[in-house]
Symmetry: C2
Subunit: 198 residues, 2 copies
């Protein structure tokens, strides 16, 4: 059985749990507490030298890191990865957008809130929030004309962006001015076999 | 002909120029000065709402953003994208590593140096440097046992990581303690049709 090294609060880990649920693939969760340094143990570093979750381990011991690389690999040959070459390029474009222009702002600010780190990061907060809203603006603009991020149906690009967007409010982001994002979040939630982050 | 919206100092833009050279694909460079706000004009935003280069435009007007998504799309069906499913997953893992754990430190510190922004970012510099060295350590560890990042030959994963690693010294990173990275940089440079960043 697949083993997911997993931190329950992490949107990056949630992406993998959500896709595995959609695919109906059974897996074992191995809790890893990032706040207690459990990704820095020799045992974990042997599996992922870059000390991050999620990490997916196959029964033969092979390990894959990076949430969006895991999504891509699991989705190959399923309806969640577009077949068309241009649609696949769009999916990757949005997944790199998510990791570079979205997660470092929206996910990091949320993390500061639940880990009690807002005060010590007070000076950096306005810039982080502005860049997070910038990413939300790019998404809103795209979704004004399209139902999904890549191709004509729900794909791993949507899963990647849903993970931290749907909990952006936990970091103080107000989504009320983003109606197309709101409608898209509802579409994602209404998919069969959808599961919540926790 | 393909048009590359391009900033010559950018390693992300260089990735695309390097792969197009390796593939022997002709393209037109459209210089975009990010320091003068040229990615924020209405004309540019119509092509990429996320206001970043590189941006690759096809003759029919289609545009693709995100350097590593562009690499993937151009490399499909060529020797620079592995065929094996696991090797492809490894390539993507390293490309997401590059954008999340490498570029925000090694490329950003280099940018501060050449844009004259080191003084105003003095407080953030030690953490940025430490995380950059952390990424170099992960690469060194991998390259101690392997010649390339994904599969058994030069691929887009190497191109993605070469772009900012080979100019890390311009940001003050000392690569002398990373002999496996040094040997890998030399292997990349010795590939036929290699081109320099400028």
């Amino acid at each position: 059985m697949l083993r997911l090294y997993d931190y329950s609060e992490s949107g990056n880990c949630y992406k993998v749990r959500l896709l595995l649920s959609l695919l109906g693939v059974p897996f074992e969760r191995v809790p890893v507490d990032i706040l207690k340094g459990e990704t820095r143990t020799p045992d974990f570093l042997a599996r992922n030298p870059n000390h991050r979750v999620p990490l997916l381990e196959w029964p033969d011991g092979r390990c894959l890191a990076e949430s969006n690389a895991i999504l891509w690999h699991l989705a190959e040959g399923t309806p969640y990865l577009p077949v068309d070459s241009w649609d696949r390029a769009q999916a990757l474009q949005w997944m790199f957008f998510e990791q570079y222009s979205h997660e470092p702002y929206i996910a990091v600010v949320r993390f500061w809130h639940f880990a009690g780190l807002v005060d010590e990061n007070r000076a950096a907060l306005p810039d982080k929030m502005a860049r997070g809203y910038d990413a939300l603006g790019v998404m809103e603009s795209h979704l004004g004309a399209r139902a999904w991020f890549a191709g004509e149906r729900y794909s791993i690009a949507d899963i990647a962006l849903y993970a931290y967007t749907h909990v952006a409010g936990e970091g103080g982001f107000d989504l009320s001015g983003y109606p197309s994002i709101g409608a898209w979040l509802a579409r994602v939630r209404s998919e069969p076999r959808h599961v919540a982050i926790q």
